[in-house]
């Protein structure tokens, strides 16, 4: 049974006088939000056929964009978000893959001329209507696209039942409990799944959500919000504090109650330093792939009493309520405690499977018999082990997927697009570390130097900004390992970007 949509409705109605959003320094109350949701909802039911369930959403940083998500959910429809800063061609491809005919866009004019577009900023006010339609667990709530190895982005559909599982798991966890007086950071692009928890949980609690303008320097804007608006709840990727680290001695934010990390490895040394900047806060190191509806578990970090780590990376802790973790070998058999293997997840937050991608689904999901029942597991690609106390420790990736500023990037997708414009030239995309310990993308090219402008211009039409390599090196001959494979470790050394 789906309860969370009705709870959003009740929370909006019960907090009309509270601020719901602070966007570009303008506050909007829950009443303003209710009006925005209602007018968009009225347009949806007037314009869009009931059978159309997947609706495109251009993710601007404004009230209408957030209101559209809730309006679609009240109508039992899913949002398919596209970032206006991503190449139009990629966004159109996403709509093509999902057969999305309708797009809701809060821009002044739309780029999606081949679609039926609702310009949400141009709608007139209607009466407030927040009653949710009847929604079943298997109906889709959103589809997000992540990097795919063959040059085509991979769709991860999430159902209302999946989100219900997430909300219920967090509800059962007494450590995290938002209040209507909380002021919460929402720093994520809405095409990134971490954003779901940073708008959903505050909305369910009547708290205020503070967004980051698209053209702001993120790191400094976050600090500005913490300082000027005394934020109480921070949800971030670890790279934020990596970049702020040189300035930690200027940060003192005693109002912060909760600080959640996710979307990348949290290092023990920096976590300890950061916790001094937020002396009253609990720190949670969350883990969870997009396929498992944002969060599957966390480790409650404390610099003095709870700082378990492996190779300097803080533990990912234990699974949330109703979530099952197993660590398996290459034959999908569970390994012993302390032994490294691939972490696999099962439970009600698990996606029904990649969008129209049987081949990938066959690889990524498997059935395992547990107590006579067939349970479907997802292979995360993350190497982990379980320690004697039952905490899970993160070891590394099993494949060529890397995290760039929290985004999952398949190195093969970058190579695929680069090679389209430079045929017959060997190229390897790599994640290289800068002096602050953040991963950046490098492209090693086995060739004499040539002008890469045309190749990069092409890549920029195919991939979002975070997937475009920022460092290029020409190498006469790639180094190879003993067994004849390109030696990526050696190649990485040639980048040497830490001394720049």
């Amino acid at each position: 049974m789906i309860n969370f949509v009705q709870r959003i409705q009740e929370s909006i109605k019960g907090n009309y006088d509270n601020n719901a959003f602070c966007i570009h320094n303008i506050f909007y109350t829950y009443y303003d939000f209710a009006k925005a949701v209602s007018k968009i909802r009225a347009a949806i039911s007037e314009v869009i056929d009931d059978s159309e369930k997947l609706i495109g959403l251009v993710t601007n940083d404004d009230l209408e964009t957030y209101a559209t998500i809730i309006a679609l959910w009240l109508e039992g429809k899913a949002y398919v978000p596209v970032n206006p800063a991503s190449p139009l061609e990629r966004n159109v491809k996403i709509f093509e893959l999902t057969e999305t005919k309708y797009v809701i866009d809060s821009s002044e004019t739309t780029m999606y001329e081949d679609h039926e577009v609702i310009l949400s900023k141009k709608l007139s006010d209607t009466h407030i209507n927040l009653e949710a339609k009847k929604i079943s667990e298997s109906q889709l709530a959103y589809i997000l696209f992540t990097s795919g190895t063959t040059g085509t982005p991979k769709g991860v559909p999430i159902t209302f039942g999946n989100i219900e599982g997430l909300v219920s798991a967090i509800d059962k966890d007494t450590e995290f409990n938002l209040l209507s007086s909380d002021r919460c950071l929402q720093m994520f692009e809405l095409t990134f799944d971490f954003s779901v928890v940073t708008y959903l949980f505050p909305l369910l609690s009547g708290s205020c959500i503070y967004t980051i303008p698209k053209d702001a320097i993120k790191y400094f804007y976050i600090f500005k919000l913490i300082k000027e608006h005394k934020l109480t709840v921070l949800t971030m990727v670890p790279s934020i504090i990596n970049y702020l680290r040189p300035y930690f001695d200027e940060i003192n934010a005693p109002d912060v109650r909760y600080c959640s990390f996710g979307g990348g490895a949290l290092h023990a040394d920096i976590a300890a330093e950061w916790s001094r900047c937020i002396p009253s806060s609990s720190i949670f190191n969350y883990y969870g792939p997009t396929e498992y509806t944002v969060y599957s578990g966390y480790y409650p970090y404390d610099k003095d009493t709870n700082c378990k780590s492996h190779n300097g990376i803080i533990s990912i802790g234990i699974p949330l309520h109703d979530v099952e973790y197993i660590v398996v070998n290459e034959e999908n058999q569970e390994v012993a405690v302390g032994e490294v293997g691939e972490l696999c997840l099962a439970g009600c937050q698990l996606t029904p499977g990649y969008w129209n991608n049987k081949e990938r689904n066959d690889e990524a999901f498997f059935l395992d018999k547990k107590e006579g029942k067939n349970i479907r597991f997802y292979k995360t690609g993350d190497l982990c082990y379980k320690d004697e106390e039952g905490d899970f420790m993160y070891v590394g990736r099993a494949d060529f997927q890397v995290k760039i500023r929290g985004y999952r990037v398949e190195l093969a997708e970058i190579e695929f697009h680069a090679k389209t414009k430079a045929k017959k030239i060997n190229m390897v995309a790599l994640d290289v570390m800068n002096s602050l310990g953040n991963a950046e993308l490098g492209l090693a090219i086995e060739s004499d130097t040539f002008d890469t402008n045309e190749m990069f211009d092409y890549m920029k039409t195919k991939m979002p900004n975070y997937m475009i390599p920022t460092h290029v090196r020409f190498i006469k001959e790639f180094p190879h390992s003993m067994n004849g494979k390109i030696d990526r470790k050696e190649l990485k050394k040639l980048f040497n970007i830490t001394n720049n």
């Binding site: 053209d215 702001a216 320097i217 993120k218 790191y219 400094f220 804007y221 600090f223 500005k224 300082k227 970049y243 702020l244 040189p246 300035y247 200027e250 940060i251 500023r405 800068n434 002096s435 602050l436 953040n438 950046e440 900004n465 920022t470 460092h471 290029v472 720049n500």
Partner: protein, 79 residues
């Protein structure tokens, strides 16, 4: 150090980080005017400038920096 000399060094920092020189920096230039200048590269440029001038910016100054003019004023106050 004259403003021109400062601007010249700032220009060098931009070229080092962005790996291109396809821009003209003036007081009014913002991140929107320069290809590749966004949140991440901004942080790298700041680090590079701190190194070139052997200064350390304050977070309070960085937080209110909106264009090249602001950046140069802050550098002037630090050297």
């Amino acid at each position: 150090m004259s403003k021109e000399e400062i601007l010249d060094k700032v220009n060098t920092a931009f070229i080092t980080v962005l790996e291109h020189s396809n821009f003209q920096l003036t007081d009014e230039t913002t991140a929107n005017d320069v290809d590749g200048w966004e949140s991440i590269t901004h942080m790298m440029i700041i680090t590079e400038i701190e190194k070139l001038f052997t200064i350390k910016f304050k977070l309070m100054d960085l937080m209110n920096m909106n264009n090249i003019g602001d950046l140069i004023k802050t550098i002037q106050s630090e050297i």
